[in-house]
């Protein structure tokens, strides 16, 4: 029950942080020049129409009232109506969450599948040619702009080999797996080098530990020592890095979403900002905040699975 108490406490702690985030996002976006109604009407609508639209979206109210209204409605699960799409923001965001979440989970999975074998090989052959090539290769894929890598993959897998479709996100679970493979691979090869770097150095550090000496002395094979004793102990910092980066990706996958035409949250955010669609920006900020904190909570909880000595208070 200690664990449950911990989770509940963490969830409650999220509330003030979320209020802080929305307040800052609210103020910063409002400080920007650019009026959603003027952008929307393209300058041709009459002043009466513009005034009527302003009133409709509550933009004629003083700023603090607008914010308080937003908070009150948000507490009731209502994030307002999109100025651009005229639909409830909650509905719009829910529609868009699935592709983004699938993409990020898939990309992270690919990253993990790349990270574990490569960092073990790197650590076991530290400072040998294999290690160097893995690290240099990682630097190259990490430094490649994702839109460019995306286009290269499209050319290769899509146009030449005709293995994968080059845009959209498909239908059904298998469809998503197939359609999102290339974009997820782009995320994977972007994330993996960071994770490999971190995991490799903690593997090397743990390999120096006395209990590893002991395990070796017991006569365990090097691979077994690695998998059973070293890897588990070395994972925690890497999980943290992964969690931080997933946080980034939740709103930051926009480039990949654009290149592969995936109807996700990143595309929605950029469009909303361009049109100054305040309610949608606010709603997205809130959702991003919640998702980031949830990812971190999950990461924290996973520490206990990796290392049973971790106790939650």
């Amino acid at each position: 029950m200690r664990l449950l108490g911990y989770i509940i406490r963490r969830l409650i702690q999220m509330i003030p942080v979320l209020i802080g985030i929305t307040l800052m996002a609210f103020l910063f976006v409002k400080l920007l020049p650019g009026d959603p109604i003027l952008i929307l009407t393209g300058g041709k609508a009459s002043p009466e129409t513009v005034a009527a639209l302003r009133a409709k979206f509550g933009l004629d109210q003083p700023l603090y009232i607008q914010y308080l209204l937003f908070l009150r409605n948000a507490a009731q699960g209502d994030l307002g109506t999109s100025i651009l799409q005229r639909d409830p923001v909650v509905d719009i965001v829910i529609e868009r969450i699935a592709p983004s979440a699938f993409l990020i989970a898939y990309g992270s999975l690919i990253a993990i599948l790349l990270t574990i074998p490569f960092s073990i090989i790197s650590a076991m052959r530290a400072d040998q040619p294999v290690d160097h090539s893995i690290r240099i290769g990682g630097m190259v894929t990490f430094a490649m702009p994702s839109f460019w890598l995306g286009l290269l993959l499209m050319l290769l897998f899509g146009l030449k080999l005709k293995l994968f479709p080059i845009s959209g996100w498909g239908e059904g679970f298998l469809g998503h797996l197939k359609y999102l493979f290339m974009p997820s691979l782009v995320i994977g090869v972007y994330l993996a080098p960071m994770l490999i770097q971190s995991l490799r150095s903690s593997l090397l550090e743990i390999m120096q530990a006395e209990y590893i000496e002991a395990a070796r002395a017991k006569g365990l094979s090097p691979l077994r020592v690695m998998l059973k004793h070293v890897l588990r102990n070395a994972l925690i910092p890497t999980v943290t890095i992964l969690a931080v980066n997933i946080g980034w990706l939740i709103g930051g996958s926009v480039v990949i979403e654009t290149v592969f035409s995936i109807p996700g949250l990143g595309l929605l955010l950029v469009r909303s900002v361009n049109y100054r669609d305040y309610p949608t920006i606010q709603g997205l900020t809130l959702v991003f905040g919640v998702l980031v904190m949830l990812v971190n909570l999950i990461a924290d909880l996973s520490y206990a699975i990796i290392d049973p000595r971790v106790v939650y208070e």
């Binding site: 009407t41 609508a45 931080v244 950029v270 971190n296």
Partner: protein, 554 residues
Amino acid sequence: MENIRNPKRHMGVLMVMLAFVLLVVACQPAPAQPTEAPPPPATTEAPMEAAPTEMTTTEGCTPTGEVKRGGELTLARLEEPLSLDPILITDNGSIYLQEQIFETLVVPDETGAGLAPGLAESWDVSGDGLTYTFHMRDSNFSNGDPVTADDVVFSLQRAADPDVSQYAFAYQAFDTITALDDKTVEVKLSQPYAPLLSAVSLFTGLTVPKDIYQADPEGFGNKPVGSGPFMVEEYTRGDRVVLAPNPYYWKLGADCQPLPYLDKITVLYIPEANSRVLGLRNGDFDVIDNVPFSEASSLESENNLLLEVAPIYKLDYLYINHSKAPFDDKNFDLALNYATDREAILNTVFFGYGDLPNDYMPKMNFWDPDVPLIPYDQAKAEELLAQTNYDGRTIEILVGAGDAPRKQIATILQQNWAAVGINSEIVELDVGTAWDRTVAGDYDVNVSYITSDINDDDELATFQGDYWAAGDTQAFFSRYQNQDASDLLKKARESLDPNERAKYYSEIQNTVYWDGYSVPFNFTPAVTSSWNYVKDFHTLTTGWWWLESVWLDK
């Protein structure tokens, strides 16, 4: 490791997220430009080889051409539809699809430049030009209900209501809109208004079924019901719209069977230009729109692909703020024109696609080809400049951030102008901010564009050229003031004689263009590409296409 409640780290992540949001806010890529919303109305006429208008009556239809029916088409577009309720939107992503789903009494014809009967079979105009009576044909919505005069009146009235309609300006001359009976609509005007039929064909007034709309106004944009050739089978935001034939559609095809020819059309939202082009080559898409000019010639050279470069009502031009010195001096504005190598811009930025404009507005029906072009002449520019009191101050060239072609134009302008002694700097701002400053008059010049919503010259001629026009856009934010132009525009709007109107518009074009209203760059065409088995896919001057007449030869 025991206690891992570490609020600092979480704050760090959150700050990073917030930083990202702000970063996006600060430096956005080019979005669909809000500078302008697009053009007008509903359904039209048959394809090239299909029935001419008089055949749309059922009796006596003679087949006019061979077409193949059936098949599915995938169309990949730059823009997504925001809503399918005509009253809510101003974006091309939405309008072009609504035109396939709804109709107006009168519709743009198969070129976009003319008008054809839509829901109205015919109409009468009273002698004083103040009363229009529309006689509607028997037609049905896609749910089987008949389209009544009540539906039309309801739709037009909301389009004319400034409290809900962003295009109420187009209906300003409307006094009353009434249903005389089930199938007759009467529009009374408060003053003669030549563009009336064009206004009736505008997308904002597309006919929605009154009862269905009023039962659920909020939900209508997601589940629209119209009387156009297609109905919406699926609408997934940010992804696709799937269209199926409306079984009740009235218009007949070249084979004397009801349109449309296709069984299904999937319209995909593919915002990345490279992804559209790759997808076309890959066979994932049959048609793509907004082909980047840089890719056009390579697609054109492929055997199985077609490229269409279609003239549309669009002008790329440099907005000039005439309320600010030195732009309040006509000589300076003309000097900017003489100093700008517009041919070079056309060739490098637009890859030669388009035409050099001799006009301050897009090329429309009353465009006069004989108005002389301001030549590229550095000596003349220097001469004019010497007559101004320009003090060498640095001019700000505003460009929407992330808009590579317009940034290129700005760079050429900067170099050209420097050659005659005009200093300038390029200021990149996100489109929202750039637009805000343009509206507020807080700018020098802005590299942007305009498109027309209506296939009548009046809308843009007046918006751009008449400082005192209703709507308070101050000659579309240029603050250009010319009383003569304003008077001529009024005459042109109120004259019902096309020849007389042509004369007025020619004079207006000559006056405003040669006043150095702007530096126009290109009558920019729309470029689409398709596989060669796609027949009769054509972009209208209004920007969209009549999907009802598209068929597949495969």
